[in-house]
Amino acid sequence: MPLYHNEDQAMLADTARGFMAEEGNIAKQLRHWRDRNCKDGFGHALWKQMAEMGFTGMLVEEADGGLGMGHVEAGIVLEEIGRNLTPSPFLTSSVLAATALKHGSDDLKGRYLPGLIAGDSVFAVAIDETAKHRPSRIATRADKSGNGFRLNGAKTFVIHGGSADMVVVAARTSGGDEDADGITLFAVPKDVAGLSHDHVRLVDSSMATHMRLDGVELDGDAVIGEIDGGRAVLDAMLLAGRVGAAAEGVGVARGAMDMTVDYLKQRKQFGKLIGEFQALQHRASHLYSEVEIARAATIKAQQLLDGGSAHADLMASVAKAKVAKAARLAVQEGVQMHGGIGMTDEYDIGLYMKRDRALAEFLGDAHFHANRVAELSGY
């Protein structure tokens, strides 16, 4: 498969780009909700519009009422989300939770997918239990109780946790905290007794929760996939999420870079446009190279994932790490090259820096993924 968008994908990219620039732009969404101290950190009306565009269910199989598209397509939407810093539950709901639900029973799919596709429901995923992404370590316990399970434990950094109608929770049904096996995934509905959230607003104005599960009782039909065999589903979900987060990161990097290059063409100092100074030109050109390379790695990962390749996992970590490095460079150079004005809230460039920080941390930062590249390569 050639590493560029085919005609249908290019058309989707045009549509997504126009839509997100028009409806999902920074003034209309991020600043709007932030300035109102919105408890969700995103707008439900936009989510509904995204459903009307066919975005919300794009990764859901056609048999289940979705569009049955791939990760290249989801990545196209995510890149535009990133470029506009659009606050949206797309990544958690339409990519992560939707991937988990692929492995769910017909009953679970019937219960949750229509709401997602219609843009009425929002989902979250609860994996990590520490400040850093450590999916190999799951201590939250799910013990057999009657026909179902009783969950006890705590989860951190649950993005949209407070807004979610359902949270996909990874819990341990057997073995020790660091064991690969013995994991089971559960679809935990919003209002179940024993579930509580500690809400926190993050640096990028998004909302997350620290989630507590105190004797949460679930029926056996809340299980997604196999009991004790949840690691495979978790891995599939993480893979999709990482590739998706990389795509969003590419958008953040490109947005910040474009804004900065534009500024270099407008700002005058020493009687010249600052873009005329070679010291800045070279850094801008270097930045451009890094962002392009990160984007290529991301498209490669998307294609491998869609093709079911065994290399998708390695390439997903390459993409996540490379994008994290390139986007970090983009926001840092962005703020620096804007000079003092780049430090002000009035200018958008700082918002890119904040979003990059949060997105890079989500599902593993550049260090985590470079380490993974080493492990998957056998050293």
Binding site: P2, Y4, G275, E276, I293, K322, N371, V373, Y379
Partner: protein
């Protein structure tokens, strides 16, 4: 698609039958590379047999038209051939500036007569070419070159000096930028082709920090260059005084080649290999070095994806015309980093300049040679200038 699968099956069978086992070994030294030319000798029968088989099939230049010595393969077919050759580790049958640089320029700008003559010679490795661009005062600022060809009607008399002419002392012919109009900077350069055996051409080797010296200063002292080598075979490419267009076109190809975008070792991950290497030396990877290797591998694998994307886009005309500059910049900087890390893993062993264990100081010599990657074919700084100007559209660049 079915056709492509069939082509793959056939190619695999052909390679199996025609690529000798000795030609499936990694290239170890300079004499493992066959450059062709009038005075070329083969290292062994296998090298000769492999070249002849490829010439017969058009596989020294797979994508060139059949009438010029190629195989007329489509881009996807050429990719299949590359992949299949890669799988068995087949060496390139012929390395040549004719194939990489002059050939593409002739395909684009040459007359039918020039194509018939020169392209076929290049495809068969009969004539070895060198590139006469740089001058002592004209490196990055190439267009300031001073070598002058005085018009004498049916010929020019060329005087001047070139520098860094790779393999000039082994080359049969040179493609050379010569000023033919002193008044017109860009519009006064002619792209000439002439025999290095012409009277008045001398070369003097330049020894590099890596110890090798395939590089030369080249001097022209009243060299007579005819304007034509026969019917429809002019001695210049394109138009007289419009050689800059050809030079720029060709530089694009040169940069693409140096970038390593079309595969090859410089974009591959090295961490696993370095761990094995360290183990052979009785050592393990230092944790901080391991981390650097991991970060390098992220960059190398991402760059490999970029290389693939770049080639895919070039084929369908989607790549930005200045994209080779980006590939050259990123690819060569990466390759330097790669060799820094390989030196670090090797430790003091890799310092050995002449020893059997290092095959004659291969690690340190390769490491030093890579430092030229970000200079030859246009420096990294010049690449960044071009990106700023042509891709980012920055002012005054």
């Amino acid at each position: 698609m079915a056709d492509l699968e069939q082509f793959r099956t056939e190619t695999r069978a052909w390679l199996e039958a025609n690529c000798p086992p000795e030609m499936r070994e990694p290239v170890r030294g300079e004499d493992d590379i066959y450059w062709g030319g009038r005075n070329a000798t083969f290292k062994n029968d296998a090298q000769k047999a492999w070249l002849e088989a490829c010439i017969a099939k058009g596989y020294t230049v797979p994508m060139w038209p059949k009438e010029y010595g190629g195989a007329g393969l489509s881009a996807p077919e050429a990719k299949v051939l590359r992949e299949e050759m890669g799988k068995i580790g087949a060496r390139p049958p012929l390395s040549s500036f004719g194939i990489w640089m002059l050939g593409p320029a002739l395909l684009h700008f040459g007359t039918e007569g020039q194509k018939q003559r020169f392209l076929n010679e290049i495809a068969r490795g009969e004539i070895r070419w060198c590139q006469g661009y740089s001058e002592p005062g004209s490196g990055s600022d190439l267009v300031s070159l001073q070598t002058f060809g005085e018009d004498k009607g049916d010929h020019w008399v060329v005087n001047g000096q070139k520098i860094w002419t790779s393999y000039a002392d082994h080359a049969d012919w040179i493609f050379c930028l010569v000023r033919t109009d002193k008044e017109n900077k860009y519009g006064g350069i002619t792209f000439m082709l002439f025999d290095m055996a012409s009277e008045g051409v001398t070369t003097k080797p330049i020894k590099l920090i890596s110890g090798s010296s395939p590089f030369c200063e080249t001097f022209f002292d009243n060299v007579k260059v005819p304007k034509s080598y026969g019917d429809d075979v002019p001695a210049y490419v394109g138009t007289i005084n419009r050689g800059w267009d050809v030079a720029k076109y060709l530089l694009g190809h040169e940069r693409e080649m140096i970038s390593g975008a079309d595969g090859g070792e410089r974009q591959a991950a090295i961490g696993a290999m370095m761990k094995r290497h360290a183990a052979r030396l009785g050592d393990d990877l230092d944790p901080v070095l391991r981390a650097e290797l991991a970060n390098f591998d992220v960059d190398a694998l991402a760059y490999a994806a970029m290389g693939e994307k770049f080639l895919d886009e070039i084929k369908v005309g989607k790549a930005h015309p200045a994209q080779p500059n980006m590939m050259k910049y990123a690819g060569t900087e990466l390759n330097k980093r790669r060799h820094e890390l390989m030196m670090a893993v090797g430790g003091s062993r890799s310092l050995e300049w002449e020893s059997e264990a290092t095959e004659g100081g291969k690690p340190s010599k390769s490491w030093l040679r890579t430092k030229a990657n970000s200079i030859e074919g246009g420096t990294s700084e010049v690449m960044l200038n071009v990106i700023a100007k042509r891709i980012l559209d920055l002012p005054g660049a």
